[in-house]
C-alpha cells in the first residue's frame, strides 16, 4: 500500500490543487474589494456548474463545441503544425451545415443530419486546405495564414448572411434549418443535443487511434521528431498535410454540430471564441485527447457557473468571468509551481544530512 502511494505521480494533482487555490485567493481579493462574499460566490459557481439537472445540461452544452475544437487543435499539433484557424473553419462548417439544413427539403432525419454534418466537415477541411497547401508547397507560415483566414471567414459568412443567404430583409440571418436536420435534444429545458454524445465518442476514438494504432504512432513520430520520421521512412510532410486537413474537418464538424444542435440558423453575430478556447483547452489538457475532454467539461461547467452567478446575484458579469479566466490562467501557468520541487528536495536533503550527522555523533 505504502509503495503504491509512493509510486503515484502526485505532481499534476498538486499543481491543479495549487493553481485552483491561488486563483480562488486572487479572485477573492477582487470580490472582497467589490464588496461581495467570495465563499458564497464560489459555492454558487460550483453549483451552477455541476449540481442539478439543468446546470449540468448547460455545462454539457458549453462543453460540446469545445471538445471538438480542442481535438482539432490537438490533431494538427500532434502532426507538427499549429492550426490557429479552427475558429474560421468552424464558421465555414456552421454556415455549410446551415445551407444544407435549410435548402435540402424532404429528406428523412437519418439522411438529412449526416448529410448536413458531412457538408460541414467538407467545408472545414477545404478551408484548412488553403493554409496546408501554402505551407507545404510554398513554405508559408501556417500561424499567420490561419489567423488571417479567420478574419476572412468572419467577413465571408457575414457577407453570406447579409446578402445571398439572407432569410428576410428584417435581420441578417439565414432561414432556420428544417426539423429533419436538427440534432435531437436530450431535454426540453436546455439546448444540449446528442452532439455531446458524438463529441465524447469522438474524443475516445481519437485517444484510441493515437495510442493504439500504427497510424497514431506514425503521426506521433512526425509530431515529436520529424527528422527521425524521415529517416525511418515516414513522410512528415504528407502526414502533416493530412493532419491539417483532418483538423479542419473536425473544426467544421464542431460548427455543424453547434449549428444543428443549438442555433438552428446562422446569424450575423454567431458566437465567436469557440475555436480560440479550443486552443486553450488543448493546452489545459496537457496535449492529450482525454485530458482535453476533461478540460472541456470543466471549462464548460465553469462557464455555466459564471452564467448562473449572473442570474442570481447582482455581481457584474465581467467579475464572474474574471474568476473563470483566473482559474484557467493558473492551471495553464503550471511552470510557476516548479519552484515547489527543488524546495522539497532541499528540505529532504537537509533532513538526510541532519539524520546523517546525528548518526555519526
Amino acid at each position: 500500500m505504502k509503495e503504491f502511494i509512493n509510486n503515484i505521480n502526485w505532481r499534476p494533482f498538486i499543481i491543479i490543487f495549487l493553481s485552483l487555490l491561488l486563483s480562488l485567493l486572487i479572485g477573492s481579493i477582487f470580490m472582497i474589494s467589490s464588496g461581495y462574499n467570495p465563499l458564497n460566490v464560489y459555492l454558487m459557481m460550483f453549483q451552477g456548474a455541476f449540481i442539478g439537472k439543468i446546470n449540468i445540461m448547460n455545462s454539457l452544452k458549453n462543453a460540446t463545441p469545445l471538445i471538438f475544437t480542442s481535438m482539432a487543435v490537438l490533431i494538427a499539433f500532434r502532426t507538427g503544425t499549429f492550426n490557429i484557424g479552427v475558429e474560421g473553419q468552424l464558421f465555414m462548417g456552421a454556415i455549410a451545415a446551415a445551407w444544407a439544413g435549410f435548402s435540402l427539403e424532404g429528406l428523412p432525419s437519418i439522411i438529412h443530419i449526416p448529410l448536413s454534418l458531412l457538408f460541414a466537415i467538407i467545408a472545414g477541411a477545404l478551408y484548412a486546405m488553403i493554409p496546408a497547401i501554402l505551407k507545404f508547397k510554398f513554405n508559408v507560415n501556417e500561424i499567420i495564414t490561419t489567423i488571417m483566414l479567420n478574419s476572412i471567414a468572419f467577413l465571408f459568412t457575414s457577407y453570406l448572411v447579409n446578402y445571398p443567404l439572407r432569410e428576410s430583409p428584417m435581420a441578417p440571418q439565414t432561414p432556420k434549418v428544417f426539423e429533419s436536420a436538427r440534432l435531437p435534444r436530450l431535454t426540453d429545458s436546455s439546448q444540449v443535443s446528442v452532439g455531446i454524445i458524438i463529441a465524447v465518442i469522438f474524443a475516445v476514438i481519437f485517444w484510441f487511434v493515437f495510442k493504439k494504432t500504427t497510424f497514431g504512432f506514425r503521426t506521433r513520430v512526425v509530431g515529436e521528431a520529424s527528422s527521425f520520421a524521415e529517416f525511418s521512412g515516414i513522410s512528415p510532410v504528407r502526414t502533416a498535410f493530412y493532419g491539417m486537413l483532418i483538423s479542419g474537418a473536425v473544426a467544421g464538424l464542431a460548427g455543424g454540430v453547434e449549428l444543428l444542435g443549438v442555433h438552428y440558423r446562422f446569424v450575423e453575430l454567431f458566437p465567436t471564441g469557440l475555436g480560440f478556447n479550443g486552443i486553450l483547452i488543448a493546452w489545459l489538457g496537457k496535449g492529450t485527447p482525454l485530458g482535453a475532454l476533461f478540460a472541456a467539461l470543466f471549462y464548460g461547467g465553469i462557464q455555466s457557473g459564471a452564467m448562473t452567478v449572473d442570474w442570481i446575484t447582482s455581481i457584474p458579469r465581467q467579475l464572474s468571468d474574471t474568476l473563470l479566466v483566473l482559474m484557467v490562467f493558473f492551471i495553464a501557468a503550471e511552470g510557476m509551481f516548479d519552484w515547489v520541487w527543488p524546495l522539497k528536495k532541499k528540505f529532504l536533503n537537509k533532513k538526510d544530512q541532519k539524520a546523517g550527522v546525528e548518526k555519526n555523533a
Binding site: I54, N58, K61, N62, S158, N162, S168, P169, M170, A171, P172, D188, S189, S190, Q191, V262, H263, Y264, R265, V267, E268, L269, F270, P271, T272, G273, Q303, A306, M307, T308, D310, W311, P316, R317, Q318, D321
Partner: protein
C-alpha cells in the same frame, strides 16, 4: 353551551386566518421583473437606457427587478429560460438578435409575459416595443442640415438592418428638407461593440470634409464620438442623451426613450394590463427626437450653446409640427420591406 362557544371561537379564528391570508395575497402582488440584455452594460446608449427604465420601475413601483448580461448569443436562450423558470412576471429582452430565443421560451411558458424592444414577435404572450426612429432621425437631420457649413455630412450605422436604415433614411430626408445640396456619406461597421472600426469610418468621413456625423451604432458609436473629438468636428449621439460625453463636439443626441418604453411596460404589468401586440413610441408619445425637445425631462444645463443651434432648433420645432399634423410623412424602410 361550551360547544357553541368553541364553534364561535373556531369560526372567529378561521375568519381571521382567511382575512390575514387575504391581506398577504394583496401584499404578495409585488411583481418580479427581469431584463435580459443583448450585451454588456456601459454602452452609454441603448442598453444603458433600457437598464435605466428598469431602475426607475424599482424606485417608483412595487416591483422586484433583476437584470442579466449574457456573455454571448449562445447564452440568450438559457438566460431567458432561467428567468422564466424563476417565476418572473415580466421578462424584457432587447433587439432582433434575441427574437428567436424569446419566442422559443415564450412558447414553453405561455403564462409568463414577455416584452421585446426593437423586434416584432407574433407570440401571444410577447409585447413588441417599437420606436419611430426615422421620425426622430428626420428631426436631427433638419438640425444637422441647418448647422452644417461644409454641406457634407456623415452617418455611421452599427449593422445594415432595416432598423438602422430607419435612422439613416430619416436623417437623409431631414437634411434634404432644409439643405437640398448637402452630400451624405454613409458607412456601416457590422458590429455594436467595435469602437475601433467606428472611429476609422468616422475619421475618414471627417477627413473627406464632413463636419457633422450622426451615429446609430451602440457602443461602436463611442469610436465615432472619439473621432469627432480628435478632429474637432460636430457629432450627433443616439438613444441616450450622450452630450455629456463630448461637451464641445456633440450638438445633439437623437433620443430614443427605451427607458420610458421599458418603464411603461413594467407599469402596465403592475396594473395587470400589458397587452400583447405592438406598442409604438413616436413623437406623439414624446419618445424620439433631438434632446433639446425634451428640456422638461432632461437636464440640459450642461449642454453647450453652439452658435446657430437656437435657430436650427426653431426649424426643428417647425418640422415637428408639420410631422405631427401630417403635412410631412417620413419614409419608413421597415414598412417598405414588410410589404
Amino acid at each position: 353551551m361550551n360547544k357553541k362557544l368553541l364553534t364561535g371561537v373556531a369560526v372567529f379564528v378561521l375568519m381571521i386566518i382567511v382575512l390575514l391570508s387575504f391581506g398577504q395575497n394583496v401584499q404578495a402582488e409585488t411583481k418580479k421583473i427581469a431584463l435580459v440584455l443583448s450585451g454588456d452594460l456601459g454602452d452609454r446608449s441603448f442598453l444603458d437606457s433600457a437598464y435605466r427604465g428598469l431602475k426607475w420601475s424599482e424606485e417608483r413601483l412595487d416591483v422586484e427587478t433583476r437584470y442579466v448580461e449574457p456573455a454571448n448569443p449562445s447564452e440568450f436562450e438559457p438566460s431567458i429560460r432561467a428567468m422564466a423558470r424563476a417565476g418572473h412576471d415580466l421578462i424584457i429582452t432587447l433587439s432582433f438578435t434575441m427574437l428567436d430565443a424569446t419566442n422559443n421560451v415564450a412558447q414553453d411558458y405561455p403564462d409568463t409575459q414577455f416584452a421585446i424592444v426593437d423586434a416584432v414577435s407574433q407570440e401571444q404572450n410577447v409585447t413588441s416595443l417599437m420606436f419611430k426612429e426615422h421620425v426622430g432621425s428626420y428631426l436631427v437631420g433638419v438640425l444637422a442640415g441647418k448647422m452644417t457649413e461644409t454641406d457634407k455630412l456623415g452617418f455611421v450605422g452599427g449593422m445594415e438592418i432595416p432598423l438602422i436604415k430607419r435612422f439613416q433614411i430619416g436623417f437623409e430626408e431631414g437634411i434634404k428638407a432644409v439643405n437640398p445640396d448637402a452630400e451624405i456619406n454613409v458607412g456601416y461597421v457590422g458590429a455594436w461593440d467595435n469602437p475601433g472600426n467606428g472611429k476609422e469610418i468616422a475619421k475618414s468621413q471627417y477627413q473627406n470634409g464632413a463636419d457633422i456625423v450622426y451615429h446609430a451604432a451602440g457602443k461602436t458609436g463611442e469610436g465615432v464620438i472619439a473621432a469627432a473629438k480628435e478632429e474637432d468636428k460636430y457629432v450627433i449621439g443616439v438613444d441616450s442623451d450622450q452630450c455629456y460625453i463630448a461637451y464641445d463636439n456633440m450638438i445633439a443626441s437623437m433620443m430614443k426613450m427605451v427607458d420610458i418604453a421599458v418603464f411603461e411596460a413594467i407599469q402596465d404589468v403592475t396594473e395587470g394590463q400589458l397587452e400583447p401586440g405592438t406598442k409604438v413610441f413616436g413623437l406623439k408619445q414624446n419618445a424620439v427626437g433631438p434632446c433639446r425637445l425634451y428640456s422638461d425631462i432632461l437636464d440640459l444645463d450642461n449642454h453647450k450653446d453652439f452658435t446657430g443651434l437656437d435657430e436650427a432648433m426653431k426649424a426643428v420645432e417647425e418640422y415637428k409640427e408639420k410631422i405631427l399634423n401630417g403635412e410631412i410623412t417620413v419614409t419608413d424602410p421597415m414598412e417598405m420591406d414588410t410589404e
